[in-house]
C-alpha cells in the first residue's frame, strides 16, 4: 500500500481547544514514552486547554487528562474524527 498524502493529518498543536481528534502516529523518539502514559494510535484525544506563552496542551484520553509540552504535541499527528 502506498502512502497517500492526506491533508487532514495535522499535528496536535494545530488542533483548536474543544476539538476531538484521532491519534494517528507519533514521532519514533516519543513512541515508548507515550506508551508509558497509555497513549496509542487509534485513541481519541480531546484538546481540553492550552497554556499561554507557548505552554503545554492538556488532552483528555481514555478518561484521563495528560499534559503534553509543545515539543511533544508537535510530534503527535492526528486526524479529525
Amino acid at each position: 500500500m502506498s502512502m497517500r498524502y492526506n491533508e487532514d493529518v495535522i499535528s496536535l498543536l494545530e488542533v483548536p481547544v474543544g476539538e476531538t481528534v484521532c491519534l494517528l502516529s507519533v514521532d519514533d523518539s516519543l513512541k515508548a514514552k507515550l506508551v508509558q502514559y497509555g497513549l496509542y494510535a487509534g485513541d481519541s484525544l480531546q484538546v481540553l486547554r492550552v497554556a499561554p506563552l507557548g505552554g503545554p496542551v492538556l488532552v483528555g484520553v481514555n478518561g484521563r487528562e495528560i499534559a503534553l509540552g509543545r515539543a511533544v504535541a508537535e510530534k503527535i499527528f492526528v486526524e479529525a474524527e
Binding site: 514514552k33 502514559y37 487509534g42 497554556a51 507557548g54 505552554g55 503545554p56 478518561g63 499534559a67 509540552g69
Partner: protein, 564 residues
C-alpha cells in the same frame, strides 16, 4: 506467602498498602512518589503474609526508573500472588497493565479501586462480566475508606494457596491496548456525570491570568507560613541547644581537644535540628498538602513554558520552589523527573536557589545594613544567574529532553494522617542520610580548629577571597558555612572581631560576600543528598560549578559596586 501490589501511578495502591501495613509507604498525588518498594509483614485471616508495594507503573515495558524497579522485582523474586490495583475511573488505561500481568503465570487479582469516584462520574462497571472474560477474580475496592480490603486479601490468600493459573496470550503493546479498549467498551457504561467540579476548578487554576495570580498568592502564603514557623521555632531551639551544649561540656577541661570535639559534635547535632524542625518539617507538611490536593501538576502545567527557557520542563519547577525553603528536599524531589539529564540539571540549578539559611545571611548583612531593596535586588539577580547558568548548562548537555508528558490527576482532599506520614517518611531520609554527615563534618572541623588550622584555612581560600576583594579573615566563616549556611554570618563576627559589620567591611564588600554565600558550595546536608541521588562524581561537579558561578556572580557585583 508473598503478595505483590502493582498498579498504575495514582491508582491508590499505596493507600491500600497503608490500610493494611500501617503507614509505611509514601502516598502522593504526583506520579512517581514511590521509587523504592516497601515490604511489610501483615496478618490476614490468621496468616502472616509478606506484602510488597511496588512503584507505580503504566506498563512493564521498562521506561522510568520506577517502572524498571517494578519489573525487576516481579521477575526476580518469588511472588505468589499479584494484586493489580486499578483506578476504576480509568478502566481502559488500567486494563493495559492487567493484560500485561496475565501472561506472567502467577495468580492475578484485579482490584477496581476508587469505586466511589467512579460512581460519582456516573461510571458503571460490569465486574462479573470482566472476571469471566479475563478468567481472574475482579473485586471492587474503596481503599481510602478501607472498604473491600479484607475481602481482597482473603481472596488473594485463597488464590495463592490454589496456585491455579489460567493460560493467557502474550500480546504486544499495541494489541494489548486495542484489547483493553474493547474490554472497557464492553464492560463499562457511562451514565450521567454527576460532578464537573474539577473542570470548574481547573478553569480558574489553569486560567492564563487567574491561574498565575493564584499561583503567586499560594506560593506567597506557603513561604510566609514556612518562614513564620521557622522564625518562631528556631531561636528557642538554638537556645535549648546552647544549654545542652554547656551541660555536655562541663565534664571536660575547657579548651582541651575532647571539649572541642564534643562541642563540634553538639554543633553538628544542633545544625540538624535547626534545619529539620524550623524549616524542613513545615516545608514538607506544606508540600504534602499541595501534593495531595493535586496542585503540583497544575503548577508544572503553568510553568512549563518558562522552564523551557532554561532547558527544563514544567515538572522541574518543584525542586526550585522547594529550594527556597531547603535544598535538601529540593534535590530529593528531582526524583520525579524521568530523564537523567533533567534530574542532573534540575538538581544543579536547585542548589543555586537561596534557601532559608542563606536568606538569613542576605537579611543579616545586606537588608540590615544596606536596606531591604538591595536584598530584594540580590534575589532577582540570583534568578537571573540561575536562568543564565541553566541556558549554558543545557547547551553543554546536548541530549534533547522530550519535553513535558505528565498526567493531570483529579483533585483530592488531603488527609492529615497521609500528609504527616509522608513528611515523616522524607524527614527520616534526611535524618539517616544527611545528619550523620553533618555531625561527622562538624567534629572534623572542630579538630582542625583545635590544631589552629584557622590561618591555614584563611590561606587556603585566600585566592578566592582576594579576587573578590574581601579580607582574608572571611575564609573561616566561608568554610564553616559549608556545614550550615547561617554559620557564614554567625562566625563572621568572630572572624572580624566585631558584630558591627559596617565598621569592618565596605558596602560593596558586604554585598559581594552575601552574593558569594548565596551561590557557593551547598551545605553538607545537601551534598550528602546530591551524592545519594546522583552519585559522587555529579556531587563534585555540581559543587565545583557552584563555586565558579559564585565567583562570577560576586565579581559582577564587585564590578557594579566599583562603577557606582
Amino acid at each position: 506467602m508473598r503478595i505483590a501490589l502493582i498498579g498504575q501511578p495514582n491508582c491508590g495502591k499505596s493507600t491500600l498498602f497503608n490500610q493494611v501495613a500501617g503507614y509505611k509507604a509514601e502516598t502522593g498525588n504526583f506520579s512517581g512518589t514511590t521509587v523504592n518498594f516497601t515490604e511489610s509483614r501483615v496478618r490476614v485471616g490468621g496468616e502472616v503474609v509478606e506484602l510488597v508495594d511496588l512503584p507505580g507503573a503504566y506498563t512493564l515495558d521498562a521506561g522510568s526508573p520506577a517502572e524498571m524497579e517494578a519489573v525487576r522485582y516481579l521477575r526476580s523474586q518469588d511472588v505468589d500472588v499479584i494484586i493489580n490495583v486499578a483506578d476504576a475511573t480509568h478502566l481502559s488505561a488500567a486494563l493495559d497493565l492487567t493484560l500485561e500481568l496475565l501472561p506472567l503465570n502467577k495468580p492475578v487479582i484485579l482490584s477496581l479501586n476508587m469505586m466511589d469516584e467512579a460512581a460519582r462520574l456516573g461510571l458503571h462497571i460490569d465486574g462479573e462480566g470482566l472476571a469471566r472474560e479475563l478468567r481472574i477474580p475482579v473485586l471492587p475496592l474503596i481503599a481510602s475508606k478501607g472498604r473491600g480490603v479484607k475481602g481482597l486479601f482473603l481472596k488473594s490468600l485463597e488464590a495463592g494457596r490454589k496456585k491455579k493459573v489460567n493460560d493467557h496470550l502474550t500480546l504486544d503493546a499495541e494489541n494489548r491496548h486495542v484489547q483493553a479498549r474493547e474490554l472497557a467498551a464492553r464492560f463499562l457504561s457511562q451514565g450521567e456525570r454527576i460532578s464537573s467540579f474539577r473542570d470548574r476548578l481547573d478553569d480558574v487554576l489553569l486560567h492564563p491570568i487567574w491561574g498565575y495570580t493564584i499561583l503567586l498568592f499560594v506560593l506567597y502564603l506557603f513561604f510566609q507560613a514556612v518562614y513564620g514557623i521557622g522564625k518562631l521555632t528556631e531561636p528557642p531551639l538554638i537556645a535549648l541547644f546552647d544549654v545542652l551544649t554547656n551541660k555536655a561540656l562541663t565534664p571536660f577541661l575547657p579548651g582541651s581537644l575532647i571539649a572541642d570535639i564534643v562541642l563540634g559534635i553538639m554543633q553538628g547535632i544542633a545544625a540538624g535540628v535547626a534545619i529539620v524542625f524550623p524549616y524542613l518539617l513545615p516545608f514538607l507538611l506544606g508540600l504534602g498538602v499541595l501534593e495531595d490536593i493535586g496542585y503540583l501538576p497544575r503548577i508544572a502545567f503553568l510553568m512549563d513554558a518558562l522552564m523551557h527557557r532554561i532547558g527544563l520542563h514544567g515538572k522541574a519547577i518543584v525542586p526550585f520552589i522547594l529550594g527556597y525553603g531547603c535544598n535538601v528536599p529540593a534535590v530529593m524531589s528531582t526524583r520525579t523527573l524521568e530523564e537523567p539529564r533533567d534530574r542532573y540539571l534540575a538538581a544543579a540549578l536547585a542548589t543555586l536557589v537561596p534557601c532559608a539559611a542563606r536568606l538569613a545571611v542576605v537579611f543579616g548583612l545586606v537588608a540590615f545594613y544596606l536596606g531591604p531593596l538591595l536584598a530584594f535586588g540580590l534575589y532577582l539577580f540570583n534568578i537571573l544567574i540561575i536562568a543564565l547558568t541553566g541556558r549554558i548548562l543545557s547547551n553543554m548537555l546536548p541530549e534533547d529532553t522530550p519535553g513535558l508528558i505528565m498526567e493531570m490527576p483529579p483533585y483530592r482532599v488531603p488527609t492529615a494522617k497521609n500528609v504527616v506520614n509522608k513528611a515523616w517518611f522524607r524527614i527520616r531520609e534526611f535524618v539517616v542520610e544527611a545528619w550523620p554527615v553533618l555531625i561527622a563534618g562538624s567534629a572534623v572541623l572542630a579538630i582542625l580548629n583545635y590544631f589552629d588550622f584557622a590561618s591555614v584555612f584563611n590561606l587556603l581560600v585566600r585566592p578566592v577571597t582576594w579576587i573578590m576583594g574581601l579580607p582574608s579573615e572571611v575564609g573561616i566563616p566561608l568554610i564553616f558555612g559549608i556545614l550550615r549556611k547561617e554559620l557564614s554570618l554567625v562566625m563572621l563576627s568572630q572572624a572580624l572581631g566585631t558584630s558591627n559589620f559596617d565598621t569592618a567591611l565596605t558596602a560593596t564588600q558586604m554585598t559581594v560576600y552575601a552574593t558569594f554565600v548565596m551561590f557557593y558550595i551547598p551545605c553538607l546536608a545537601t551534598l550528602a543528598v546530591l551524592k545519594r541521588e546522583l552519585g559522587t562524581k555529579a556531587m563534585i561537579y555540581i559543587a565545583s560549578l557552584t563555586v565558579v558561578v559564585a565567583m562570577v556572580a560576586a565579581m559582577v557585583v564587585r564590578g557594579i559596586g566599583f562603577i557606582l
